[in-house]
Amino acid sequence: MVKSVPEIKMYVRADGSFGIRNHLAVISTVACANHVAESVARQVPGSIVCTHPYGCDQLGADAELTFRILAAAGFHPNVGGVVVVGLGCEEISAQVLADRIRESRKPVFSLEIQKTGGTSRAIAQGIEFCRELNGIMNKYDKRISISPRHLVVGLECGGSDYSSGIAANPAVGICSDMFVSMGAKVVFGETTELLGAEHILVRRAKNEQVGDFIKAKVNSVEKAAERMHVDIRGAQPSPGNIDGGLSTIEEKSLGGICKTGTGSITDAIEYGYAATTPGLTFMDTPGNDLACTCGLVSGGAHLVLFTTGRGTPMGFAYAPVIKITANKDIAQNMAENIDLDLSPILSEGLSIEDAGKKIFSYALRVAEGELVAAERLGHREFGFHRIGPTL
């Protein structure tokens, strides 16, 4: 059934990767450069901006994480051209980051506000770079027909309620199995939201290494709660989850993992590293929606299947986030934010199987260019987390 899926049109990149969007990305290396980066992007229609409060006074693994996520934004196949904006004295140098991204062989410009001569000149220079990039991208970047098995699909749930675990997530699970069976890559994270369900995932691990990785990461989240002498119930489940009928983290987790389908977990990776193995990959990410989405997309996800019961508008800077709900009230109250209303599963007897196929065919349309709600509404969130102290 899945093997007969027709080819879809994707952008082919110089490094041999394939993208489903052709974004011009303006990437800030440090908080001090955010205003210039945002001002440039605001004046260049079609561009997206990646800003964050970090990039300075970071050490070791923490600084590496920031660099890795910013480099991944530039490398991502949904991005066709890049302008890196730095200040000039930060650890994450605009020049070094730009050079790293150039390894993808896509056009990259960089500027430093100190060298350019202040805010206004830097903004003007950035806009000029964008004009040049737009010219290159319009001329060379075209979609070609290619097998959808080249897709990398991220899975995520946020603002969960009772409907997530019994309807929306199982439907995503069917869709995930369909992508896996055609040889595509599917990545999921949210380590905190595996507590109480990890034994099921460990049983599905392809080998001991993957199983041990999952156990170790879940254990480390649980130990963090112990070290802080706090009950994780303060945040997991969240007040919204609880109002929506979820009582414990175990219940939330058991519902959450339904979106991973039934197949074997073939690989397990650290936050923001590239997913390279076809099939289902676990990435160690926070449960936080934006940090998780950023990790999955940094790992190569072209798009994210995002289920919600309470409703959330969040998108992502350079990847479509598909909003799926099985809660009828949210499908109506937040209709403009919802791409797929699967509430007929609970009210009209739509089968989970058919709902999963519906998600699959919609995801392919999105891959070919159809805009999701978050994109239409201008949701271009970008953000990740820190693993070290602010010095």
């Binding site: 099921i200 119930r233 414990t248």
Partner: protein, 105 residues
């Protein structure tokens, strides 16, 4: 009024309500194929999407949904009662108890 509840696994001792239930409402429990498996009365108001006890549940017993343990009872729970954070507690990530609960049991 008749209210439907969904039992996800035959081993579960709670089911999820598909409509709001008032005290005294008749609850029909369906399995995932949609077949009715039991009926009883709601003993209290229970919101849609929340859980109802399918059987008598003794204090400190496993509460099961998806055929898996989602926590344990803090009180005795009778069939038809609402099961939520007031009478069901998690056993995971409990740094507040620090060593009092073994997460692996």
């Amino acid at each position: 009024m008749e209210v439907q509840a969904l039992q996800l696994n035959s081993g579960d001792n709670v089911a999820t309500l598909m409509n709001d239930a008032a005290s005294g409402d008749l609850i029909t429990v369906l399995d995932i194929s949609g077949s009715a498996v039991s009926t009883f009365s709601a003993l209290e108001r229970i919101p849609r999407g929340h859980k109802v006890a399918l059987t008598f549940i003794d204090i400190q017993s496993s509460i099961k949904k998806y055929g898996e343990r989602i926590g344990r009872s803090k009180t005795v729970i009778r069939q038809g009662q609402w099961v939520h954070i007031h009478n069901l507690e998690s056993l995971r990530g409990r740094g507040d108890l620090h060593g009092q609960i073994s997460s692996g049991d």
